[in-house]
Amino acid sequence: MSPRRVAVTGLGAICAIAHDCGELREALRDGRSGIRPIELVDRTRLRFPNGAEVTGYRPEDHFEPKEASMVDRFAQFAVIAAREALGQAGIEPSSDLLRKATIVSGSCIGGQTTEDEGFVDLYLKGRPRISPMIIPKTMANAGASRISLEYGVRGPVYTVATACSSSNHAIGQAFWSVRQGTAELAIAGGSEATFSMGILKAWEAMRVVSPETCRPFSKDRSGLILGEAGAMMVLEPLEAAKARGVPVLAEITGFGCSSDAHHLTQPTVEGPAMAIEMALADAGVESGQIGYINAHGTGTAANDPTETAAIRQVFGSGADRLVVSSTKSMHGHTLGAAGALEAVSTILAIRAGFFPPTINYSAPDPRCDLDVVPNEARPGTAENAMSNSFAFGGLNAALVLHFGAD
């Protein structure tokens, strides 16, 4: 019996350049930047002034006041993205399909913004007690659990924490689960709310955040720009989607993941290359069949040449025919949400017939000599695409998407 094919039937996203997927598609097409002066914390205390915040966000537009007070911003983003994705897939709360569904979410830092506020009360203000909501708001599974509560999902619900690969791993796990018949429906993705003083100062100390903007693969790149987001997708067997009569937005056909076993923060070429090879093998496609890669492309000194070398190692001379771009240049590095936001972005762009650009690109770097779609989106399509995520801790993940099943 051949394995089940897995369809994506719903997408949801909220990030610095869009509050939903319709806006996201147009922002990607326009090459719009969500990188702006940080407003959520006092940026004068930081060495970097810019971030990719979700602006104009009002929790009360999405949640009852009491619920909003019990759910951290990162989990709110997860819920908002899941609602959009489930709505597009035509699935109502408490639907029979959800009873045995799975939710796999990714988050790197969970509700540490809430924790940070509590610790300010405790350590700085000398308060004798802190809120009992810190524990349930901070837990990394808060987003997944909230979606489960709201929709009545009773199957396997869990959260993957693999730093910047978290939601790529999450989608991969959900994909495998649907493909092997463990779940008939999956809600998968990730979310992150990055902007608290403690988190930002910790990133500052890593010396990988750009003092200006994110310029992936560009010779003058100066680091990543932190972002926040929620992004989710609905997965189900292709045949089930067709039987329900819902549009198939893409198929997920392969997932690969690997560990560098080398260093906490220094990337290798071999680890990412292995994840990419595993994803291709899992999808049963040759490297030459891939037309577009949404790169991890952080804009740091170390990532971009290493990722270029990994792609060249796997794709050989075919790498020169590949279209590669980093949408982080627009929506920032959303950490645990990155894999999902970038997979969602890839599906939106390819379906709309364009390759999203790498904006803020100013000069070629011979060590990053791929076609990175500089600055302006390009019309085009791909039968198969990839989305890469590589994390601190040496954890690599890659998804293969297929277009044309509908």
Partner: protein
């Protein structure tokens, strides 16, 4: 039961639960107000902050009505206001 203290307790419950204070009386039960165990500890946190008291865990588990809550808080406030009370703190 001191009315002013009862009103403050009701205000804490109203703010924590996002309820109208007019809908809460000292005779309301937590069940009537839809207050579950997690809501309960949130209210205790608000009361501890408002009255600068420390509510022991065993008391927290047995309270089921607004009246019990007001009485419990009144007792702890009275103990705090007694100079020899250990709950007073040394500084």
């Amino acid at each position: 039961m001191p009315d002013e203290l009862a009103q403050k307790v009701i205000q804490c419950i109203a703010e924590t639960q996002h309820l109208e204070p007019e809908k809460i009386t000292v005779d309301s039960t937590f069940e009537e107000l839809g207050i579950d165990s997690l809501d309960g500890i949130n209210i205790l946190f608000a009361l501890e902050t408002e009255f600068d008291i420390s509510i022991p865990d065993d008391a927290a588990q047995s309270i089921r009505t607004v009246r019990e809550m007001v009485e419990g808080v009144a007792k702890l406030v009275a103990e705090k206001d007694t100079p020899e009370s250990p709950a007073q703190g040394s500084d």
